[in-house]
Subunit: 297 residues, 2 copies
């Protein structure tokens, strides 16, 4: 019989929320994850803890028993956390989440700016997709999310609490192509030249609009490599193995052998960079970091 504190938190939240789905959105997980956590908890407790009903979940007697202990355990955990972190250095911590290419193109600028403007702030970062970052934000595991969106820039999702969203900059999607070869010496290409191009894309989950390939091309694109890592992508392009899309700000950090080209013959592809945070008055450190993100661009 072995419990992790996350499992106990799940139990508590399910008890408080009355359903797996609600608990999931409170905790920043998907419903699937909560369902499995619940099943695992029952397995490790050796008893049925949840009574699944058509309108949600209620705790069985065994579940209520465990809940009682879970609350005291979680209190102890919180107390321990309190005591231990109290003795540590009191530097302000801001947890930043951002879309993957932000790490290369704007994180260094943000950190550099903060190092002089607000050296007492410690920034930790993590990467993620837009939905993952929004979940993390609502769950309180990050303080700021740096996102991209494509037009039309509707308010991302309709869940509550409404997030405080602020546009930072509109940027243009460009084509990353080998400096030598087919497009050598050019500064732009026509979209018709791309229909049969070999693309280097991100692994897609069939739900996302296929990152890395120019949007709206007719037919099925010819994807020759897939990788999540930007350095890999760019080195593949430099090696002449394909082309990929790049945000315009990334042209500042392209390795030798890769050129950024505009694409003509179609309307500009605009990507908006924006920040999201929970509503209400932010802590001063968060404001400081938001300012650094805005001005680093």
């Amino acid at each position: 019989m072995d419990f992790s504190s996350t499992a106990l938190r799940v139990l508590r939240q399910v008890a408080d929320s009355g359903s797996f789905t609600a608990a999931a959105s409170q905790l920043g997980y998907t419903q699937s994850a909560i369902s499995r956590q619940a099943a695992a908890l029952e397995r490790s407790a050796g008893a049925v803890l949840f009574e699944r009903r058509s309108d949600g979940v209620r705790l069985t007697p065994a579940g209520l028993t465990l809940l009682r202990h879970a609350r005291t355990i979680l209190e102890s955990v919180a107390a321990a956390e309190q005591e231990i972190t109290a003795s540590a250095a009191p530097t302000a911590l801001v947890r930043l989440g951002m879309f993957p290419s932000a790490g290369a193109v704007l994180l260094p600028g943000v950190l550099a700016r903060l190092a002089t403007a607000a050296p007492h702030i410690t920034v930790t970062t993590r990467e993620g997709t837009t939905p993952a970052l929004l979940r993390a934000l609502r769950a309180g595991s990050i303080d700021i999310a740096v996102l991209t969106s494509r037009p039309p820039h509707r308010p991302s999702d309709g869940e509550s609490p409404r997030l405080h969203i602020e546009p930072v900059e509109d940027t243009e999607l460009l084509l990353g192509a080998p400096t030598t070869g087919l497009f050598a010496g050019r500064t732009a290409v026509h979209v018709d030249e791309l229909v049969d191009a070999p693309w280097i894309a991100a692994p897609s989950t069939s739900t996302e609009p296929l990152l890395g390939v120019w949007p709206g091309l007719p037919g099925r694109p010819r994807i020759v490599h897939t990788t999540r890592d930007w350095l890999t992508k760019l080195q593949l392009v430099a090696g002449g193995f394909g082309v990929t899309t790049i945000p315009s700000r990334m042209s500042a950090v392209l390795p030798p052998g890769v050129s950024a080209l505009r694409v003509q013959g179609v309307p500009q592809e605009v990507r908006r960079i924006l920040t999201a945070r929970l509503p209400g008055r932010p802590e001063p450190g968060i404001t400081e970091v938001l300012r650094a993100v805005t001005s680093a661009l």
Copy 2:
């Protein structure tokens, strides 16, 4: 900040034992595992908890703080366990650990015997290597270990507590070969016929004496397939893709196409089957299962 109860148990045991190594053997882990658990615990607590000294480990102030809370948390966990299992059915549970091929050749017999002789006993089983089973036994996560040993049958390991070990049966190692083909119609082979045979072995960790290949053959054996699974092994043999060693008791459950042959020209290879349990007077359920194991053979 997220703690699993195993991590807290590790903390407590390290505090009580005074070293990672001692805690490891108490808890049935390797030293390596404890070292990593400790590092992970420090990472998740965000503080240095252990002071590594040349003669062991002592807790830092932060470690002592967490230890205090860990004890109360573990008490709550134990209390929860108590309450929940108290309301469950009071069937005796015996946890059996055994070497891999025992599952096929003797577990069915043991369970059948128990079903009539002691139907109130619930038996759970797991497989493992001899050292893993001995660790589990000492750690209290299994009640009985069913092991094999090869001569000389020395007392397995010298650690304390001394285990209560009882031989069950001596059995002979045989050769599993395709019924048709090179050895068709034979009941025995000479060891010289095996020097260039294609072997189907278990994946070896270079520390074990290479299971599945006849021991003591000159030269390096020609291993054509490796698998841990007995059914796979036997089906490969049946298909004529190689030969392997089998314990003599398994000849009762060989699939069609596989024959068990004696090996001549060398002394019999004897494998002893034995049971191990912690010393002292065993619970009645354990005695019952031990008796079933002995008499099922």
